[in-house]
């Protein structure tokens, strides 16, 4: 009988420092099929297992990238590892972004903090298949300029789509000035800078729990129907296969039915957002 919990060994090919607390780990995989929005369970023997979203795009072959903030036991241990070390993974799990619905439509991504990780997978997939999609906008907010992820891709994104960035504060986490010249304010302030109607677009949101309801309000103000909004939700998916109950949201499982949910469906679920 196949062991649904058994991870396979994967070599760390590359580690890229993103910010003071976040790194991208490139892991070697073979014949690994996934869609943006899905996640893997990452194991370090003796430390534990944690669900991590995939940040690379399916068109990149032979590896997956995981963007990991140092925040718990597993992620702290992972941050101590380097290229050539091994981790164990299983997956991919969950339901990603519904590209059969999104195809041909305009898209507005709203990312907050580490929420950029799963959205980047979707964004790079869309930009790789550019002609299949309409207008693409990304609204990206981080706490401070030092918290911005994937800065090396900003120029490319700015060329290939409508890419807007803001920070909650222009001071660095240690309180010192950063010299930031861009937008200051929470991510929802970027909606005022959109110079075209988004009511027929698909809205995609991922960020800290507090962010969702404010972003959804902005989408609705712009005339977007609830069924056009997709949210990628955060839960602690311990098993990834619908058994351990940690990611249960009433009668849905974040690991099986999500983590990407249609807002019109999920808003009926108390405790979801």
């Amino acid at each position: 009988m196949e062991n649904i919990y058994k991870p396979f060994k994967s070599k760390i090919l590359k580690v890229t420092e993103q910010t003071y607390d976040t790194k991208v780990f490139r892991l070697e995989v073979k014949d690994f099929k996934y869609m943006p929005g899905q996640f893997v369970e990452l194991s370090i023997p003796g430390i534990g297992e944690a669900p991590i979203s995939i940040t690379s795009s399916p068109h990149e072959e032979g590896y997956i990238d995981l963007c990991v903030r140092r925040i718990g036991n597993v992620t702290n241990a992972l941050h101590r590892m380097k290229a050539g070390d091994y981790v164990w993974i299983r997956g991919p799990y969950g339901v990603g972004f519904p590209f059969e619905t999104i195809k041909g439509r305009d898209i507005v991504y709203v990312a907050g903090g580490i929420g950029m990780a799963p959205l980047r997978s979707s964004l790079n997939y869309v930009l790789h298949n550019r002609k299949d999609f309409g207008k693409v906008t990304v609204l990206y907010g981080a706490r401070t300029p030092a918290d911005l992820l994937f800065k090396e891709e900003f120029d490319r994104w700015a060329k290939e789509c409508n890419f807007l960035v803001t920070v909650d504060s222009d001071k660095l986490p240690d309180g010192k000035p950063s010299g930031w010249k861009g937008n200051i304010g929470v991510v929802t302030t970027l909606f005022a800078k959109l110079n075209y109607p988004i009511k027929d677009a698909i809205g995609i949101v991922c960020g800290p729990p507090v962010m969702y309801k404010f972003v959804i309000q902005e989408f609705k103000k712009a005339g977007m129907p609830e069924s056009s909004i997709y949210v990628s939700l955060e839960r602690h998916m311990k098993c990834g296969v619908g058994k351990c109950q940690h990611c249960q949201i009433n009668n849905r499982y974040c690991c099986l039915d999500g983590p990407v949910f249609n807002y019109a469906e999920v808003k009926q679920l108390p405790e979801s957002i």
Binding site: I4, K9, S43, A50, H236, K238, C239, C244, H246, N251
Partner: protein, 323 residues
């Protein structure tokens, strides 16, 4: 169709099973009854109320090693033991049947289950029983052999091939008993329309009973520990001297615990006890019903008996149903 067996012949049945299996049976321990390994038939309690812990204790042990790692590689630790339950009540038998729905593709559960023998026995429903309301009062094929008390003997009913083999042994008499369906019948103290109530949980999410019960509940998790169908778990890596040598274990958890719905970074989706307490009901009577068509409750009454705060699940359910 059943076959009679005299009470004194149950010893022979027990000994026959013992030859092949590690036998787990109800045993009296001080004021309570517990399920434990039994080697001598005289220890078995044939007539008992409910055991403290349900059969999940052996199917999904409190601490179950799922992998051993030695220098990094994950090695499966599939259990080899052959277990026979001797004398489970129908509620507990059907709880196994409902656990099967969840864990059929789980290699650890399945290894134990495939090698397992389940012998059920008649019960005398108590005040806290409500198996009828949950549909768990009927004999199903989760049971291999069921022993129904009749006077000072029993009638054996086989539901599987393993059961039929035992029923063909000589300690069962030749005369047969016709019975179309075996079920436990009694008057429930608080009869419940479980499916209707289950639907109400999400519709009437802010019913005052959650707030009221949360004031009494100690979040001690007694009810979820003794529940034959509370199966949620946590996974922990245990290490010995070096960090990459050790084992991955899963152990019982409870959605009543504060940390249960907490995510990295500290946000907690069910910070209030009210929300956590409600979640026990949502899962049992709504989520599980949506997923598998039956509630993850067999009405064994353990949660009612072992609640130190005198919370009665049935009273809450009946208030929810507007009865």
């Amino acid at each position: 169709m059943g076959k009679k067996i005299k009470k004194e012949n149950l010893k022979k049945l027990f000994e026959d099973i013992s030859k092949e299996y590690k036998v787990i049976a109800p045993v009296k321990r001080e004021d309570d009854y517990v399920l434990m390994e039994v080697k001598d038939f005289s220890q078995v309690a044939l007539d008992y109320p409910t055991t403290v812990l349900p059969p999940k204790k052996f199917l999904l042990p409190y601490k179950d090693t799922i992998f051993a790692f030695d220098g990094g590689e994950f090695k499966e630790t599939i259990p080899e033991e052959k277990i026979a339950f001797f004398g489970l009540h129908l509620c507990d038998v059907n709880a196994i049947g409902r656990l099967d729905l969840v864990f059929w593709n789980d290699p650890y559960y399945r290894a134990r289950r495939d090698k397992m023998l389940v012998v059920g026995i008649s019960c005398k429903p108590s005040e806290s029983c409500f198996c009828k309301s949950t549909g768990a009062n009927v004999l199903t094929n989760a049971c291999d052999l069921y022993l129904k008390a009749e006077g000072d003997s029993y009638v054996g009913f086989s539901m599987t091939e393993k059961g039929r083999k035992l029923l063909s042994q000589l300690y069962f008499g030749p005369e047969t008993v016709e019975e179309r369906e075996v079920r436990v019948e009694y008057e429930e103290k608080i009869p419940l329309d479980i499916y209707k109530i289950g639907k109400r949980i999400l519709e009437d999410y802010n019913n005052p009973i959650w707030e009221e019960t949360a004031k009494k509940c100690l979040a001690c998790t007694n009810c979820t520990l003794v529940c034959p169908l509370c199966y949620c778990y946590d996974v922990i890596d245990e290490t010995f001297v070096v960090p990459n040598e050790g084992q991955r274990v899963r152990c019982w958890d409870s959605c009543l615990l504060l940390s249960f719905a907490r995510v990295a970074g500290g946000h907690n989706f069910r910070k209030d006890l009210k929300a956590r307490y409600r979640n026990v009901y949502t899962h049992k009577f709504k989520t599980f019903v949506d997923e598998f068509g039956v509630p993850s409750c067999v009405g064994c009454g353990r949660c009612v008996t072992f609640c130190p705060a005198d919370i009665d699940l049935r009273e809450n359910l009946s208030k929810l149903g507007g009865v």
